[in-house]
């Protein structure tokens, strides 16, 4: 083999390796999406981890009181009024509670909404257990219709000592356009 073809072969092998690095890194960019979700689920660090829990029977800790605050907002294109009927509540860890939120469709059309929760501090989402929540499903309201939506929850008794106040916020998004598939998120 001549020198020139040898160099060509060497070059091509190296190019193949470098191009595969490029491809892998492009895929890695996409892999960050599920990785991020898994990471957040495990650590609860961005306040988005919520699973349906069964009510707690034991573990009531009456020596502590946690202050829970509720806030709501609606996305700019969402023609609903949406507010918590209880703004703050004090609960003992392990105690089951139900709070209500009120939603009114103030538009002349039927609108489907999806509430997205977020907890602050984020880490506290690991200890806020939802037994039943309107955010588990999409909500459909006819023009002018009003509903009360319930949230049943308890706070785990192993919540760290330094968390005494949590804020649970819901943002309501208009998902009318993408409502073909009724699966909750």
């Amino acid at each position: 083999m001549s020198d020139k073809t040898l160099v060509h072969k060497k070059n091509n092998q190296l190019i193949a390796k470098l191009v595969s690095v490029v491809m892998l890194m492009f895929l890695f960019g996409y892999a960050l999406v599920p990785l991020y979700d898994v990471f957040c689920d495990i650590t609860g660090i961005n306040g988005r981890r919520f699973v349906q829990s069964t009510p707690q029977i034991s573990g009531l800790n009456e020596s502590r009181l946690i202050n829970l605050q509720f806030t709501t907002s609606v996305a700019p294109d969402m023609p609903w009024k949406f507010s918590p009927m209880t703004k703050t509540i004090e609960v003992h860890p392990g105690e089951n509670k139900v709070v209500k939120f009120s939603a009114t469709n103030i538009s002349p059309n039927t609108v489907v909404g999806q509430a997205i929760p977020s907890v602050s501090p984020g880490i506290a989402s690991l200890y806020l257990n939802k037994v039943e929540c309107f955010c588990f499903n999409r909500q459909e309201l006819k023009a002018g219709e009003q509903v009360e939506m319930g949230l049943s929850f308890f706070i785990s008794s192993d919540i760290p000592e330094d968390i005494n106040t949590l804020t649970l916020s819901y943002t309501l998004f208009n998902v009318t356009a993408v409502n073909q598939n009724k699966q909750p998120i």
């Binding site: 490029v22 491809m23 960019g29 996409y30 999406v33 991020y36 996305a75 997205i116 998004f173 998902v175």
Partner: protein
């Protein structure tokens, strides 16, 4: 560093070339079809200079608007487009192509290679760039305007609230990315396979080393940017929900992906500078570079660390304390290898026989001013302080110190350093000195007061401001206009130097080292068809 000896046959070889092979096509076709690394280097440098002025004109619009409080000249949406496109053009159109241009010109000469390893690919990586920037600039004239979400294009600004022309922005970024990746692959293959016999890795000139590492950063980081813009595209136009909370996504995820690219990107824009400065400081101190191998290891550790610090841009997104601490410590750790570099440059100058020609002046200004930018970076890296500085003019001051008085000053230094080699003529030292001093003074009037504006709470990317910021903004704008005008002097010097002047010797700087200085000035069109010998 290696000591180089002349190839005994070299003179004869070059004479041979001068007569037999120095033919090149004339006119526009020469430039369109060229596969010659020197031609392509020139194209990159010329394009980067053009983009420097286009992006600079946008900066002038920004500074004119901010000259006085209140809305003066442009409407807020146009102002936002100016800040966005100014950033994109300066990063992807001015700084990065300038470094690629220098690499094209100098890497083959420094390692004794006849050309880049993949010359035809090289032609393509350059010529898709003007296309990308035409698309980006054209998007400014679309109905609804061009990109207005900042060069960092955070979702949902770049999805839900973005102008209709966002697809053009995405397309342009894709082409720029492909150009950078192809350029980086070419540089890696050239360095790994075409070094002159005897040039081991630890004998490579520092500029080659820093570019070698930069090229790896490029092929690892740019594809992540490509993924991020693609997700923006599908979120905006094809109803995916990567960054939309309504569909189960998370806008904070965008920031993670973007900055996973973004932080290595800032080192892509500074590592080649380190190489240039490490070349120039020894040449004008007439000493060897102090601590060559520590320079190599410092560059490599900066590159590795750059992948584990990205969330220092996101301290205020509500991260848990443990993550804030991790990213704070890892960020501040980078000061160690960077400090090694600054120490080595100063130690190189220590007791050297220093002379102060223009490349050296820019290099010394680089060391001082880049270090100021590094220090403000440290301040920003400290989590509790960042809560105050975040999104203020302090950040703007910081990254302009590292990018303008850092990257751009090093490019200027390199251009003056190698101009005699490229053109065969000495540049006008008096005009060049004037360019240096005017730039040095005006750039500090431009960016230094921004620190104080930021500390006092002036937010970035806003076309109006509170009255108490008026005086400093006026000063900053005046500095900006002066800096902008001073750069026209650079064009004058370069044009004069291309057209004629005092004949440059083979080695116009007596402390300079490397193969490139053993070639005649101007460098023949073809060089090193027989590799030079390394001692």
């Amino acid at each position: 560093m290696s000591t180089l000896v002349k190839n005994n046959n070299k003179k004869a070889d070059i004479d041979d070339f001068d007569h037999a092979h120095d033919e090149k096509p004339r006119g526009i076709m020469r430039w369109l079809l060229t596969t010659n690394h020197k031609d392509i280097g020139t194209l990159y440098l010329g394009f980067s200079l053009l983009m420097f002025f286009v992006g600079g004109a946008m900066a002038m619009v920004i500074r004119a608007e901010l000259f006085q409080p209140g809305m003066q000249i442009v409407d807020p949406n146009f102002f936002n487009q100016m800040t966005t496109v100014h950033g994109l053009i300066m990063v992807f159109g001015a700084v990065m192509p300038a470094f690629v241009g220098l690499a094209n010109w100098m890497v083959p000469l420094m390692i004794g290679a006849p050309d880049m390893a993949l010359p035809r690919l090289n032609n393509w990586s350059f010529w898709i760039l003007p296309a990308a920037f035409s698309v980006l600039i054209a998007s400014l004239f679309m109905p609804g305007g061009g990109p207005n979400f900042g060069w960092t294009f955070y979702a949902p600004l770049s999805t839900t609230y973005a102008p209709d022309s966002t697809a053009l922005f995405v397309f342009a970024v894709h082409i720029m990315g492909i150009s950078s990746i192809l350029g980086a692959i070419n540089i890696i293959v050239t360095i790994m396979n075409l070094r002159a016999p005897g040039m081991s890795y630890m004998k490579m000139p520092m500029f080659v080393w820093t570019w070698f590492i930069t090229a790896f950063l490029l092929i690892v980081a740019i594809p992540v940017l490509a993924a991020a813009v693609t997700m923006i595209l599908t979120d905006k136009y094809f109803a995916t929900s990567f960054f939309s909370a309504a569909g189960g996504g998370d806008p904070v995820l965008f920031q993670h992906i973007f900055w996973f690219f973004g932080h290595p990107e800032v080192y892509i824009m500074i590592l080649p500078s380190f190489g240039i400065i490490s070349t120039i400081i020894p040449a004008f101190s007439r000493k060897k570079l102090f601590g060559y191998s520590s320079m190599v290891y410092a560059t490599a550790s900066i590159a590795l660390l750059s992948f584990v610090v990205w969330a220092h841009h996101m301290f205020t997104t509500g991260m848990p304390l443990a993550a804030e601490l991790f990213f704070m410590y890892s960020t501040i750790l980078i000061a160690v290898p960077t400090g090694v570099k600054v120490f080595n440059w100063v130690a190189t100058m220590w007791r050297g026989a220093i002379s102060f020609e223009v490349p050296m002046l820019f290099a010394i200004a680089f060391i001082i001013l880049f270090t100021i930018g590094g220090f403000s970076g440290l301040m920003l890296g400290i989590t509790p302080l960042d809560f105050q500085y975040h999104d203020t003019y302090f950040v703007v001051a910081h990254f302009h110190y590292v990018l303008v008085t850092g990257a751009i000053f090093s490019i200027m230094a390199g251009a003056y350093f190698w101009l005699p080699k490229w053109t065969g003529y000495m540049y006008d030292e008096r005009l060049a000195k004037l360019h240096f001093w005017l730039s040095l003074i005006s750039v500090n009037i431009l960016f230094f007061p921004m620190h104080f504006l930021g500390l006092a709470g002036m937010p970035r990317r806003i076309p109006d401001y509170a009255l108490q910021f008026a005086d400093f903004n006026q000063l900053v704008s005046l500095g900006g206009f002066a800096f902008g005008i001073s750069q026209l002097l650079f064009v004058v010097v370069v044009v004069k130097c291309v057209r004629g002047g005092a004949k440059a010797q083979e080695k116009p700087w007596d402390g300079a080292e490397g193969f490139e200085w053993e070639l005649p000035s101007p460098v023949p069109y073809h060089t090193f068809s027989t590799p030079p010998k390394v001692k």
